[in-house]
């Protein structure tokens, strides 16, 4: 299909290349550039925005919270996904069960935020609790908890919402991998007298490691950019701010484009390893074609 000096392909490519240049390539360069300038992008300030990003108190809180998300969100979402993938295969109500767990993927994070804000609703002790969680706690004789304002629990309360949304995704991907394991392999282990845990630990798990790695990287990318849940549920107050929310505040509340750009660049730097892994994986796939 190739001809000398064939310009037709460029006709097909032109709209896409133009839009990609304007909406992705140019802004990436622009943001890196702005990150070395002051709030109105008029004066060069060197590394000052990065120094602020790495040393200020507000940014330390944002970094700490992103790390909390990174650890707890990723571990639980993958673990629950794996648990459901392996266990749901053994019951007759597998398909309705999976639908229920996957359902939150259809809902916006804003909607999920409202759903859970209502679950976490707090009334002072003695008043009727209309939030499910505090109703359960007071029914068991405990004190109601301000889930979203109490600094020792509020980050975890937000992380739970993220887990609730994304577990279904992990479950579906891991379940496809689990069903791809030849059943004779598991049967052979069973005949050899291995119990279910041993089979999982020594047969199933090693075979699923590549898929678990892919799911985990996807979740890491997601969690670094987490924004909506925090924006809707606490707006980053009471020590719950994450990097993306801080960036939004620098942009719109403080009109400081230099600092906001520096935060964006830090997010990109955190994601670049994943980008390189993707490109390498693509090259390997191409080599096999």
């Amino acid at each position: 299909m190739s001809r000398k000096r064939d310009w037709v392909p460029w006709l097909y490519l032109a709209p896409a290349l133009l839009i990609l240049s304007v909406y992705l390539v140019y802004p990436i360069v622009g943001t890196v550039y702005y990150s070395f300038f002051d709030k109105r992008s008029q004066h060069f300030v060197g590394w000052a925005n990065y120094k602020w990003a790495l040393t200020s108190k507000v940014m330390h809180i944002a970094f700490r919270n992103n790390i909390l998300w990174l650890i707890f969100f990723t571990v639980f979402v993958v673990a629950f996904g794996l648990l459901l993938a392996v266990l749901a295969d053994r019951v007759r109500y597998e398909s309705p069960l999976k639908s229920i767990i996957f359902l939150p993927m259809a809902i916006s994070f804003v909607g999920a935020g409202v759903i859970w804000k209502f679950v976490y609703a707090y009334r002072p002790k003695g008043a009727p609790q209309i939030g499910l969680l505090n109703a359960i706690i007071t029914a068991l004789g405990g004190e109601p908890v301000g889930w979203l304002v109490n600094r020792s629990v509020n980050n975890f309360a937000l992380i739970v919402v993220g887990i609730w949304v994304w577990t279904g995704f992990c479950m579906v991907v891991l379940s496809a991998a689990y069903k791809g394991i030849p059943k004779e392999l598991l049967e052979a282990a069973r005949v050899d007298g291995a119990n279910e845990w041993q089979i999982f630990r020594h047969v199933t798990l090693p075979l699923m490691v590549p898929t678990i790695a892919v799911v985990t990287t996807t979740m890491v990318i997601n969690v670094l950019k987490v924004f909506d849940i925090v924006y809707v549920m606490t707006n980053g107050d009471f020590g719950t701010e994450v990097l993306a929310n801080r960036m939004y505040k620098e942009m719109f509340n403080y009109r400081n484009y230099g600092r906001a750009s520096a935060i964006a660049v830090i997010l990109l730097l955190a994601i670049i390893p994943v980008m390189l892994i993707n490109i390498r994986r693509f090259q390997e796939e191409e080599a096999l074609r």
Partner: protein, 286 residues
Amino acid sequence: MIRRLESTIARVPLHLVLVGMALAWFIPTLGLLISSFRTQDAVLSSGWWTVFRNPFLAGQFTLENYKAVLEAQGMGRAFVNSIIITLPATVLPILVAALAAYAFAWMDFPLRRTLFMVVVGLLVVPLQMTLIPILRLYNKTHLAGTFPGIWLAHTGYGLPLAVYLLRNFFSEIPRDLFESAFLDGATRWTAFRVIVLPLSVPALASLAIFQFIWVWNDLLVALVYLGGTEKVAPLTVRLSSLVNSLGQNWHLLTAAAFISMALPLVIFFSLQRYFVRGILAGSVKG
């Protein structure tokens, strides 16, 4: 007999875990749905679960909350805005991507591999990297706060994934089909229309559903480029500002939240297979 009983008992923990998780995942949404149909007094004075004491008591349920949020709180307008935003922002990127993916899959041109590698790299670029320069551009060109502005932005953000997926799908089409078409004198444009597009309907459908849900549920892009003005704000932006302004008016907030979820839920239940496939395919998006 005894052995079967034993194995049933051994499976009790399994069922407890699975049913427990299903309940934990389902009950929060159920609470929202029930509360959205209760009166203000009822919602504020008792938990939604108390309706199960008298589930058939007429008069405890009402549609007033929906009426109030659709009209007085602007969710009706926001619903229309969401549709106006989402439809072009779904069709446009898929159209542009299909053309480029066809070139990447079946045409020869210099830098083909390199350019495609760039697309793969752009897949995971965080949106945050693009907001400030594009917003500046939009302020200069008066695209900020307009529908065309957000259509183009979603097209840009949706393109890398769409090009990547469609290119992989298109390149699976057997070469013979093209060769015989070209022998019959077909142009590359004809081959695109009569071979590539018809054979790719499932891939296009999954991608369309993913892009639709992504745009419908997006908060950040709309917040930055459209702002909160009621004339253009989509459901997500309107709902998040209601969370602030309505505070503890849970009877209204729950109804507003449910309105924002209605369409994605309909798509989820009616097109579940495409929906799941689309979400899985889109998972690498940045």
